[in-house]
Assembly symmetry: C2
Homo-oligomer: 331 residues x 2
């Protein structure tokens, strides 16, 4: 089976670990979000790609969910001793090495997709990890604070401000110029199923969907999404702050509507959210199924992935049904 998954950071990476366990022998291509990327100290940092790579490659800090296990922070301390800013981004020494290699390769002229492939040669994540684009994009967040109304890098809002200042707008700078990285559209075209993991619907999945051609390519495929909202709150992270910024409620129903049809054909919601909402969870033409959606460990993540794949298989088998028909599990 050929599977394509979009992915952000921690939630996406943990889901992917479950997907690998649920679909042994499958060919999985992961299209990673690079809107969170940031240049720090002259080094190119790709938090989401690295979280996927470290998680699937066995190098992740399990407790934290990002960064390297057994990490040290000598370089960061030294940079602070030089008075170098920013000091709010926690790069560890092991992680620094990744950014040094990446930056050296980028400066030598390799595109980010080739660099990512080279880094993955060490980590052997078991999936093909492709950045959404080789073109530079950056998610910026418009906030108003004592310095007035201004746009800050997503990481500054997310990491330094902990999303404590309301996001008035979330903009992917460079989106209009960015093309999908080589292999992205091909992988989607060849896919038997596309899975949207419970990543942030705005700054992870939503960002990838902004890259020209990706949404359109997905619309002709069987796409199953896993709700990142459980019981009316994000499972982790601050997706609610991002959803509020774009005027979307923090409900499984609202996220499904955000993705919309014809993009999504199947939708896994948490049991807590089954039937919740004014009109219940659902959307014309989308088959909805409820499952336990909390990823406690690889096993529970694998169960969710298996449910998503089963739903995708059913949907593919029933292709040709008139649009708008609800499956047995639909409302």
């Amino acid at each position: 089976m050929r599977i394509v998954s979009l992915a952000g950071g921690i939630g996406g990476a943990r889901f992917l670990r479950g997907l690998l366990a649920a679909a042994p022998g499958s060919e999985i291509t992961v299209i990673g979000n690079t809107g969170d990327d940031i240049t720090l100290y002259g080094l190119q940092v790709c938090p989401d790609l690295d979280t996927v790579m470290y998680t699937l490659g066995g190098g992740i800090d399990e407790d934290q969910g990002w960064g390297r296990q057994k990490e040290t922070h000598v370089v960061k301390e030294e940079l602070a001793a030089y008075g170098v800013e920013p000091q709010w981004f926690g790069l560890g020494d092991r992680d620094f090495a990744t950014h040094i290699v990446r930056t050296q390769m980028l400066r030598a002229g390799y595109p980010l997709s080739a660099v990512t492939e080279a880094l993955c040669a060490r980590w052997e994540p078991g999936v093909r990890l492709i950045p959404m684009s080789d073109d530079r994009t950056e998610t910026h967040v418009v906030i108003s604070d004592e310095q007035g109304r201004r746009a800050v890098h997503f990481q500054e809002w997310w990491v330094r401000l902990r999303a404590s200042v309301p996001a008035e707008e979330i903009i992917l700078v460079g989106a209009d110029q960015a093309r999908p990285a080589p292999g992205v559209l091909e992988a989607i075209a060849d896919a038997d199923a596309v899975i949207l993991p419970p990543s942030n619907p705005v700054v992870s999945i939503g960002t990838i969907l902004q890259i020209k051609g990706i949404r359109e390519a997905l619309e002709s495929k069987t796409v199953v999404g896993v709700s990142p909202i459980v019981g009316g709150a994000p499972v982790r992270g601050m997706a609610d702050a991002c959803l509020t910024a774009i005027g979307v409620e923090t409900t499984a129903q609202a996220v499904l509507e955000l993705y919309g049809s014809p993009l999504v054909n199947g939708w896994l919601v948490a049991e807590e959210d089954d039937g919740v909402g004014l009109d219940g969870v659902g959307l014309d033409g989308v088959r909805v199924r409820s499952r336990p959606l909390i990823m406690h460990d690889v096993e529970s993540a694998a169960a969710i992935a298996r449910a998503a794949l089963d739903l995708a298989t059913e949907l593919s088998a029933s292709r040709g049904e008139p649009a708008g028909t609800q499956g047995e599990d639909g409302l």
Copy 2:
């Protein structure tokens, strides 16, 4: 007193620590060798500038003579895990931070002299440290080995090969284009005395002297050199291998002749070398004095520095003597 000193790495840095102790209140400008500089993993490494900065700033690994004290090597291990070359250059984590800051500033457009000043703002070395040039130069060494006759970076010959393969030629690539960094010629013009510490006469002092205008500027000043050769051997390092490459014997006399007159006006030799050599230690017009030249500690380095300054003061006082006159300590 305004003092200018040229300097390479370990020997120069230790001498400078003595010079600071010997001449409190003096204004010392150090012109640092950058021919050893190397780009590693996309980062600009300036070994000699850093050795001076760390030594005078209290951050040096005292046993090793280079690199940072209490150093760790996590980044280097990780780079090796990625298979990144070279793996023979021992950058520590603390040291990496320096190279990251330097590289970021260089890429932002600051000249190396401004970057060095910024780094020194943290280390407060007590001297003004200026690179010999803001223009990129690199010492390359021509060797013949199983790969044929080829030029390698000085660091590859020095660190990886431990100078075990004879150097057939030593070339400062870029020397013809390089101009002295801002402040270099001005500091020399304003100096009451110029001291050549016991740094490598070929790849440290000799390199600095190749930068257009520096030798000429020094020739009109009172210059006292400290022999790096004691008892017919380098005090440390592999100066003999460098001297052999350029056809110069490893003797205090031969190094003095290499620097030559009118560049050098005074010459400190080790007691072991007093009168050694076919014609004794000396050169027409150069006042020679013998002293213990082993730097066991800051005190012994300070004693050498004091002797050099005393000699410079005497020479300055006797300015107007006809050239070729030997002082009381001469041959």
